[in-house]
């Protein structure tokens, strides 16, 4: 019964391999840079930080 319910072998193999492969790729990249074959990541855009200035001439209630 259990064997009939199981999905095709290729599906199970893909599921088994995909996760460890992707994680392994990340793990290797941490130590030795980007692994060959992986698409180059675009350079991160510098965050557009806004400069906050206090309001001129305003009088605060409390704080």
């Amino acid at each position: 019964m259990a064997a009939q319910d199981r999905r095709p072998f290729t599906d199970r193999l893909a599921a088994l391999v995909a996760g460890p492969f992707l994680l392994g790729q990340r793990a290797l990249a941490l130590q030795w840079g980007e692994s060959p074959g992986s698409p180059p990541e675009p350079p991160p855009e510098p965050p557009a930080r806004l400069s906050l200035t206090p309001p001129e001439h305003a009088i605060k209630r409390r704080g």
Binding site: R7, H57, A58, K60, R61, R62, G63
Partner: protein, 1003 residues
């Protein structure tokens, strides 16, 4: 735990229902009651990770995957990416103390209504808005849209620099083009058109007068599409000028609403007075009575003691008949009033409710000066004139009528469009208005504007009007601006709470620049202009700095009401008498979230459920149960709505209580610009009429099924509670004779030890009689607690994240049900079912009675949400906030953790506010005072329906209310021991009213 059932058998539960499916007990509703969550709300295991669903996944495969990935995951977990840096100020601004909030008093306007506010800033960022407690009218309360408007400051779509002919330019270049156009127009004697919002500011009015002096060919139109042209027309007819009406419900014993929605959250003063009259401690206390005659179901209608569904086109006739009947009872008519066209007696549509009609007449007659008649802004002009007449006859003290600056109606706008098309104007300037979206004839308007040689736009987010202009001048948000306003009892100041975020300017400064270019002499910047005016007019002994600190200067009410012109009544009465409610009529009203469209880009408001339909992110067509049945329309069906050559295809919702033959549709949706607003709903402005007297109530509408259905992003049926005894409502008679409403509390036996609370035991009381369902608490909580927005698709799956929701219950007949609103939030149970099932102890109980969450510990099993009887826990199914960047993140409250994906969250009783007060009290060596801790929902509630405090202090307000006779706890029989107590709703129908539950509290 064991619950001993009451001996008298099942509880006598009133038949409350929330959806049509529940009411008719359809198979779908029965099956949905078995399913705790909506289909799709809880995904199967692999769907969470975006993988296809795996059927029959074997244990061996699973263990294989786990063992293979565990080590790798541990390695990846060591990634140092995502680290932020924390740097101290190198030069700290004097005003900013890290970790300490600053509060500034300020104000803004929406339409003609002014909201005095207090703005909380953290490290220079405005993050939360409440009402200014110094104001004598609003008394520290404000509206949901005001609270949400802090998000507009950080709208990423804001224009950040001026534009000329579609390209970013510097201010000097753009202003020189504007000035050249104005100077050329002046030289050629050509007219210049300036279109702005309502003028409610004395300094802005003075500035416009200066501009007019410098540019005599200037024509000014003040445009407020949501103000109701009919109200403006009626004011001009009855008083000879524009007026602003403010209800004074603290003085009213009988209120008659003619389609007026004064309890919808827009008017904090009215809501405050309403709440004060409804929070009864004893049955002998004085209560008011609200009569509502209306077509669409409004929030005010849901709070009525007696509601009669009537077609809006007939409201004028009914109200004039009331006037005639009152006159027959000896109430004098104003001089010159002619009601000969009106027939006395019970109107035809109320024949079956003749007793109610007699009761209404008697109530108004007996209450006299303590009665008030209010008319909805969108109702026909003759209904407004009838309301003015009735108030004049009764000599009502329960409203103030004061002169106001006139507003342009659709007729004025049509004349302006003709002028533009005819080459009358050399230059047109649009300031904070969007007529290209709000004018009914969109094509006519666009063609006309295109014929003006120079077109300038002043605003924040590029809109439909900006798309037609050459010069775009980005404006400050009001939290970055100076200003002042007239209000009843106080002159109010607006001051900036943060320096400008972008290269923007105040609209007033742009006009001052124009005055300098036109006249050759400068008046300085607007701050100096305002300061100069205020210093000349301030009362002796009052410094401008003190006025800024308080946000206002109190003044005696000085405006005398204009006299009522009795002779204006006859034509209106004739028109009303001839009115017929034939076929379908459409009511167009400002959207709860969008208003006239200006808030369309505000995601907090878009996701706050409409208080009546509970729709989010859309404006479906509401129709009555009878019409839906006759036309075979089901909820969500697409319908085609046609009028005067315009056809809209939109989804339908069936609205219990809506008058037969009446359709209603919200304005302000269907915007063509804005990252959030674009494509949400449909634009209903093209359906508005060009006759100001009836622009928002249109007859001759055709409606048909259009085929297909839409999945509605509606929260109405989410988190259902399976018909248990959750909401209680009493008539005044029941309150006096049996305040517990025939219900018996089962004796609870528990094996658990009673919890001990050494110092405090925080608790809350919510008075359902005062709660109008306005949803101010929902927005206040969202702002305070960084509650994420999830979008319409997620809402449709039941994944909305609001920590507090308003459950809306119907009772009785579909055609005219009674309605009760019930705010529902985490009940902070002492024996919390959620705490027992958490495998990692992420949710647990604090020593002062809070059911608290440790977000870092939560692993997202969602057992707690399954076990919560109140369905108030919210799970982050997706990453809703982490990818946000500036400026959106600047609105976050730094005292509240932003929750990531996979984490459960819920109401915390604003624990950060409790801690803040605790620390302050400890520092000052004193105990916490009653009322010192306020949750965001409590502070935001304009009706003061929510009270929070220490239940261990017997003198605290909350402890005293818990002992009130109307008090009950929701699902008390479960034994969870909730810390929130509800006070039963109260209705005050007249003796032997249609509901046949008499009371003797008539006035």
């Amino acid at each position: 735990m064991k619950t001993r059932l009451p001996e008298h058998g099942p509880l006598e539960t009133p038949r409350f229902w929330r959806t049509l499916e529940e009411r008719i007990e359809s198979p779908e509703a029965q099956s949905a009651a078995q399913d705790e969550f909506l289909p799709g709300a809880v995904p199967s295991f692999d769907d969470v990770h975006g993988l296809p669903v795996q059927q029959g996944f074997s244990r061996r495969d699973f263990l294989g995957l786990v063992s293979a990935t565990a080590a790798l995951a541990a390695t990846v977990g060591c990634d140092r990416k995502g680290q932020g840096t924390v740097v101290p100020y190198t030069k700290r601004p004097v005003e900013v103390v890290p970790g300490v909030a600053n509060f500034y008093a300020s104000a803004w306007q929406e339409g003609r209504r002014v909201y005095p506010v207090l703005v909380k800033t953290r490290e220079g960022r405005p993050i939360h808005i409440t009402g200014n407690d110094e104001h004598p009218g609003t008394k520290g309360k404000t509206s949901p849209r005001t609270m949400a408007d802090v998000l507009r400051l950080y709208d990423p779509d804001r224009l950040r620099a001026p534009k000329l002919d579609g390209r970013i330019q510097n201010w000097a270049e753009v202003e020189s083009r504007l000035h050249a156009a104005l100077v050329a127009a002046k030289g050629a004697g050509q007219s210049v058109l300036l279109v702005t919002g309502a003028v409610t500011s004395p300094s802005r009015k003075a500035l416009l007068a200066d501009l007019k002096a410098a540019l005599p060919t200037l024509e000014h139109l003040a445009l407020e599409p949501a103000a109701g042209d009919a109200a403006e027309e009626a004011s001009r007819a009855c008083f000879g000028q524009a007026v602003q009406i403010q209800p004074r419900l603290d003085r009213a014993e009988v209120i008659l609403s003619l389609g007026a929605d004064f309890l919808n959250g827009d008017d904090p003063e009215a809501l405050g007075a309403w709440g004060a009259k409804r929070r009864l401690k004893h049955a002998k206390d004085v209560i008011n009575r609200l009569w509502v005659l209306e077509g669409p179901m409004t929030l005010t209608g849901t709070n009525a003691d007696v509601r009669i569904p009537v077609a809006p086109s007939r409201l004028g006739a009914l109200a004039f008949t009331l006037a005639k009947e009152l006159a027959a009872k000896g109430v004098p008519l104003p001089a010159g009033t002619d009601l000969s066209s009106i027939s006395a007696g019970v109107p035809a549509e109320l024949r079956e409710a003749s007793k109610l009609w007699a009761d209404l007449l008697q109530d108004l007659h007996h209450a006299g000066r303590k009665a008030v008649v209010l008319c909805g802004a969108q109702m026909p002009a003759e209904a407004h004139q009838a309301a003015h007449l009735l108030n004049a006859m009764l000599g009502s003290e329960a409203l103030t009528v004061r002169p106001a600056e006139p507003l342009a109606t659709v007729k004025d706008l049509e004349a302006a469009a003709k002028g533009m098309a005819g080459g009358r104007y050399g230059t047109v300037v649009f300031w904070d208005v969007n007529p290209a979206f709000t004018f009914p004839g969109t094509t006519t308007w666009k063609d006309a504007v295109a014929k003006v040689p120079f077109r300038a736009w002043i605003g924040q987010v590029e809109d439909e009007t900006a798309a037609q202009c050459q010069a775009l001048l980005p404006e400050n948000h009001w939290l970055e601006s100076w200003g002042d306003f007239w209000t009843e009892g106080a002159d109010v100041l607006q001051q900036p709470t943060v320096g400008t975020l972008y290269d923007t300017r105040q609209g007033e400064d742009i006009l001052l620049g124009a005055i300098k270019a036109l006249s050759g002499h400068g008046l300085g910047n607007y701050h100096a202009f305002l300061l100069d005016r205020w210093q000349r007019s301030l009362p002796a002994g009052t410094a401008f700095e003190q006025a800024l600190h308080d946000g206002l200067v109190k003044v005696a009410a000085k405006a005398t009401p204009p006299p009522f012109k009795g002779a204006s009544v006859a034509p209106a009465a004739r028109k009303a008498a001839a009115s017929r409610a034939d076929g379908l009529e459409l009511v167009l009203f400002p959207g709860f979230a969008t208003f006239d469209g200006r808030h369309g880009n505000n995601s907090w408001l878009q996701e706050t459920p409409d208080p009546i339909t509970k729709m989010t992110w859309d404006n479906p067509l509401s129709l009555s149960v009878q019409d839906a049945k006759a036309l075979g329309i089901q909820e969500g069906d697409f319908v085609s709505l046609s009028l005067d050559g315009t056809t809209l295809k939109l989804p339908a919702v069936i609205q219990p209580g809506q008058a037969k033959g009446v359709l209603s549709l919200a304005l302000g949706y269907g915007r063509g610009t804005g990252g959030v607003a674009k494509g949400v709903g449909l634009n209903a402005y093209p359906l508005m009429g060009l006759d100001p007297a009836s622009a928002n109530v249109r007859q001759g509408v055709r409606l048909a099924k259009a085929g297909g259905r839409k999945e509605l992003s509606r929260t109405q049926s989410h988190h259902r509670m399976e018909g248990r005894d959750l909401v209680r409502s009493l008539t005044m008679d029941e309150f006096e004779h049996n305040p517990k409403g025939h219900r018996h509390m089962p004796e609870l036996v528990s094996l658990y030890e009673e919890q001990k609370f050494p110092d405090h035991k925080w608790g809350m009381v919510i008075d359902l009689a005062a709660c109008t369902g306005c949803s101010a608490c929902v927005v206040a909580c969202q702002s305070e607690n960084n509650v994420p927005v999830v979008g319409p698709e997620q809402v449709a799956k039941g994944r909305e994240m609001h920590w507090i929701r308003i459950d809306r219950y119907y009772e009785g007949e579909l055609e005219n049900p009674k309605v009760v609103h019930q705010p529902m939030l985490c009940q902070h149970c002492d024996s919390a079912p959620c705490e027992n099932v958490c495998p990692v102890n992420a949710t647990n109980h604090s020593p002062d009675g809070l059911n608290q969450m440790a977000y870092n510990r939560c692993v997202g099993t969602r057992y707690c949400a399954n076990n919560c009887p109140y369905k108030v826990r919210r799970f982050n199914f997706l990453e809703y906030t982490a990818y946000k960047t500036e400026p959106e993140t600047l609105v976050n409250n730094p005292e509240v953790t932003v929750r990531p994906r996979g984490v459960m969250e819920k109401c915390s009783f604003c624990v950060q506010r409790i801690q803040d007060v605790k620390i302050r009290a400890k520092g000052e060596g004193r105990s916490i005072l009653d009322g010192e801790v306020t949750t965001a929902c409590m502070a935001g509630c304009p009706a003061d329906a929510i009270v929070f405090g220490d239940l261990k202090d017997p003198k605290s307000k909350v402890a005293q209310l818990v002992a009130a006779s109307r008090a009950y706890r929701v699902l008390e029989e479960v034994g969870a021991k909730p810390a929130i107590t509800y006070l039963a709703d109260l209705k005050n129908p007249p003796l032997n009213a249609a509901s046949n539950r008499g009371g003797h509290h008539a006035h």
